[in-house]
Amino acid sequence: MVGIVIVSHSAKVAEGICDLAGQMARADQKILAAGGMADGSIGTDAVRVSEAIQAAWSDDGVLVLVDLGSAVLSTDMALELLDESMRAKVRVADAPILEGAISAVVEASVGSLLEQVLATAEGAREMRKIL
């Protein structure tokens, strides 16, 4: 099953999104938070992101959801820290982080392939809340 990693500047945001998205998950599904800095301050840390990707890893790959700015750069850096073979099966979604995470978790929970999970997460950009 595709693993999910949530990268936010805030540890609370990343953990909160994991909790929320986890409500839609299967029991054995991997949804990892990589938020904030090791000392608890606001920011993103490429090493933490790369560790979270490894912890969420299976042969099905990992989808990463990011908030803004340095979350994108740190994730890009984190990919460079991984083995080539692992990196080939990691995708970063260009999606709203919360809506994208929930969509991705649901898609992954039915056993979809990485590219499908990515497409569903990115589809969350079009999600209407008020009709």
Partner: protein, 214 residues
Amino acid sequence: MEVTRLNNRAIDLIGAVADAIVENKEFLTSLDAAIGDADHGINMARGVEAVRAKVTAAPGADIGALLKTTGMTLISTVGGASGPLYGTAFMRAAGAAQGKTELDGETVKQMLAAAIQGIKDRGKAARGEKTMLDALEPAFDAFVESLEAQKPLVDCLEAATEAARQGVAFTKTIIATKGRASYLGERSLGHQDPGATSSTILLATITDFCRKAQ
């Protein structure tokens, strides 16, 4: 013995860079408060203090190893976009300095070129977008020009620093199209870029250190 001596000097240089960033912590943060999220000085100071602690505890075998440690430490401690940007720059420069225990003009040129390319790759940015590249690219051009004129390394570094300062002044006259400052659009005019400023502080400190070490 030579390696030990050089490592000591390289560690002193890292210490001088850390001091300069810490001294300018409030200044960099105030620049970032105008067009960003007011954390550049705080983030950079946290990063360089971590680098200082790390390289003092485990100096590494050569300049390449030292720069690699510097880069890795910055990416995991800075927190903002400057972490992966400077982290990439130092790690790419480390590649160009691999196995070296002393530096000549040609090697420094390769290190600068690799560092700047790393920043461009990571930030998907180009000159003229109000970023650190607006200081570093003119600095590189000035360095190469002086090197080709067969000037001593310190003179090349001085020319580079002067060009970087002019680059910082130039960032006041342009609108940001990258990073958080880009949300401000025209309101970013009139403010110098914090990243270009911290890059120039780094270059100026390295130059000053090399001049004094002569």
